[in-house]
């Protein structure tokens, strides 16, 4: 018979309230872990979305708008950028490279983005990783399409499959142009960014779609060849990703673009726009986190309440322990370890719960939101939080322990019912 056996016996005799307390704590730990993990995943996948781009140039709009529609394909641009301005600025000696993008079309709910093959060379993601092809290659033919990993997976497309692109972002049956069949020329590796949910075509293809749509008549499949011959020079684009020769001159070039005379333009430094985004999102983030912390605190309080309310019923237990030679310190240690056992059990259960659900939830999150939930066991940060919960549970148990210490001394060996 050892002390832990006594602790276990005593806990087992109160198993209902112990289990309820443990579950309360486990759920709050699970909530806390999921909130932080989701926040990190969101922040991560946002910040990973684009790299290597020094400026995003578009028609006059706010930083955030530009960031949201050009990088996250969220919302629609108000104005487009004229092809002339794009060419003008691309020729600027301070600019090393520029990649035009053109948004506005969709395929079965996924965004279609017109761009050039330069996109694959220059626009990076994550830690400056470049987009890699899981299979196939870039855009050669007018009707070539490159699929993001998520699109290919969700819609079950493979290399050389044929598909249809519709004008406008809403996928409805009657705006589909069955006669402009695109061919899958390449499929990208998954990146955990919005590119996974995107179809990439050439700028000319976007023009071709519009041309077909504007004439309002169905194009026979033979006309695809005619289109290939047609003049498909785009007149406007949504935005351009720009790389500079000298990154130290970013703000200099930004100012120059912003004060361009010919057209009202906006140049956005992605990092700056991200920071602004976080300062807005951060408030909600903090609120969520605060609520999660509060719930953890509440469940620790619930645990202390449980220990305190059972204490008066357990005076007999304490008196018997002392009559058998338990020092007040030993009794205090027993209470402390009881609290720690419950807290540890709660943390472990909560963590296991999160671990299990995140396995299941990860694929759903990736499919629905393109969020890449990190599949780790426990980060150092999380470990510290769990240790803090354990420590505060232990610290909190000092109160009942101290009370027992005093009451067992005062009660002496008088056994009460």
């Amino acid at each position: 018979m050892r002390l832990w056996a006594l602790i276990w016996q005593s806990l087992f005799s109160r198993r209902l309230s112990v289990v309820l307390t443990l579950v309360t704590l486990a759920l709050s730990v699970a909530l806390f872990l999921s909130v932080t993990r989701l926040q990190n995943a969101a922040r991560n996948s946002f910040e990973r979305s684009i790299a290597g781009v020094d400026l995003i140039v578009s028609a006059r709009a706010s930083d955030l708008q530009v960031l949201l529609y050009s990088v996250f394909r969220l919302g629609d641009p108000i104005n487009n950028l004229s092809w002339e301005s794009f060419e003008q600025w691309s020729a600027d000696p301070r600019i090393a490279w520029s990649v035009p993008i053109s948004l506005g079309d969709s395929h079965r709910g996924f965004r279609v983005m017109g761009t050039t093959n330069a996109y694959f060379d220059h626009v990076l993601y994550g830690n400056n990783q470049s987009l890699a092809f899981a299979s196939g290659k870039g855009l050669d033919d007018l009707f070539d399409v490159v699929l993001g990993a998520g699109v290919a997976q969700k819609l079950g497309y493979g290399l050389n499959d044929r598909l249809v692109v519709s004008h406008g972002t809403v996928s409805t049956g009657n705006s589909e142009h069955d006669d402009l069949p695109f061919r899958v020329s390449g499929i990208l590796e998954p990146t955990g960014t919005s590119i996974d949910q995107t179809l990439l075509v050439s700028l000319e293809a976007i023009e071709a779609i519009h041309l077909g749509w504007q004439t309002g008549r169905k194009l026979a499949s033979g006309n695809a060849d005619q289109l290939r011959q047609a003049e498909l020079q785009p007149t406007q684009i949504t935005a351009a990703f720009v790389g500079l020769n000298n990154r130290l001159r970013i703000f200099h070039v930004q100012r120059a673009v912003n004060s361009y005379d010919e057209e009202a333009l906006t140049a956005v430094v992605p990092g700056v726009a991200f920071a602004r985004l976080w300062s807005i999102v951060g408030v909600a983030e903090q609120a969520f986190r605060a609520i999660a912390v509060l719930i953890v605190v509440l469940s620790i309080l619930a645990m202390i309440t449980m220990i305190l309310t059972t204490l008066s019923e357990r005076r007999r237990e304490m008196a018997i322990y002392r009559s058998l030679g338990a020092t007040p310190l030993v009794i205090a240690m027993m209470l402390l370890s009881e609290a720690l056992v419950i807290a540890f059990g709660g943390c472990l259960t909560g963590w296991l719960f999160v671990q299990a659900t995140s396995r299941i939830g990860a694929s759903m999150l990736q499919e629905r939101l393109g969020l890449l939930l990190p599949q780790h066991w426990l980060t150092w940060g999380e470990l510290w939080v769990l240790l803090a919960i354990l420590a505060s549970a232990g610290a909190a148990a000092i109160i009942p322990a101290a009370l027992v210490y005093r009451s067992t001394l005062a009660d002496g060996l008088t056994v009460r019912s």
């Binding site: 056996a5 016996q9 005799s13 237990e317 018997i320 009559s323 338990a326 009460r416 019912s417």
Partner: protein
């Protein structure tokens, strides 16, 4: 359950002066009594008129002593002093040669845990324990009593239960609440006896039992004592049980 001496064990045992033989070898004429009170003075403080004064009282090793007295004469108080729970204003209490100091609660607790087995009037057992758990609980707090058990603990528990006329095989894992009052008191006695503490202290252990069970309980406890090393100090107001003991002391004689 043989294990290296734990810290608690070392502190109490190393405090033992060389003259206080813990083994209490019989025949050693120079050995001190197992329990010795000298010049004891106690009162419950300003609000209470009750005063307890004991000039000298000793219990020899292996002796069974009955302490008789009317209600309210201070028998329980004296036991509280001996077991190191109440704190005397003056005088000294020595058990196995070591001073019982209630002003140092942790030290007193350890001394009690190692050398004294206690049986109360009632409510000795925790309702959620089994018979076995109730008995071995005494070993959780005393390394010395743990070490004194040769062989498997379960076997020793069964031996004691059988000695106390409890059917060990049938009752071993039964919850204590499923036992009669008399059986529960015998389980409490087994818990006091396990690990052979030198002194068994019992405060009216039979008052909750009917007269037939009282006599039986006393017979069994007295029969279960290891007479070479264990002493019994029992409090009662029932004169009829006096012949069963080696020695009968009236509290009036002590405090006079």
């Amino acid at each position: 359950m043989i294990e290296p001496a734990s810290a608690e064990n070392i502190t109490t045992d190393s405090l033992a002066p060389s003259d206080g033989g813990q083994d209490g070898a019989p025949g050693d004429s120079s050995r001190a009594p197992l329990l010795e009170l000298t010049g004891l003075k106690f009162s419950y403080g300003a609000g209470s008129a009750f005063q307890l004064t004991v000039d000298h009282f000793a219990v020899e090793a292996g002796q069974t002593v009955l302490l008789l007295g009317e209600s309210g004469t201070g028998k329980s108080t004296l036991l509280n002093l001996i077991t190191g729970v109440a704190r005397q204003q003056a005088g000294e209490i020595k058990i196995v040669g070591q001073k019982m100091r209630a002003d140092k609660p942790a030290q007193a607790d350890r001394l009690r845990g190692q050398h004294i087995g206690l049986i109360y009037q009632s409510l000795n057992l925790l309702p959620y324990t089994s018979v076995k758990q109730a008995v071995v609980m005494a070993l959780a707090f005393s390394s010395l009593r743990r070490k004194r058990i040769r062989g498997p603990v379960d076997q020793e528990v069964k031996r004691l239960l059988n000695l106390l006329n409890l059917d060990a095989t049938a009752l071993f894992d039964r919850p204590v609440v499923a036992l009669s009052a008399g059986q529960q008191q015998r389980v409490a006695a087994a818990r006091a006896l396990i690990g052979r503490p030198e002194l068994i202290v019992a405060d009216e252990p039979t008052s909750a039992l009917d007269s037939k069970n009282q006599a039986r309980f006393l017979d069994l406890v007295l029969g279960s004592l290891d007479r070479s090393s264990q002493s019994l100090l029992m409090v009662s107001h029932d004169e009829r049980i006096a012949p069963l003991f080696d020695r009968v002391v009236r509290i009036e004689e002590l405090t006079a």
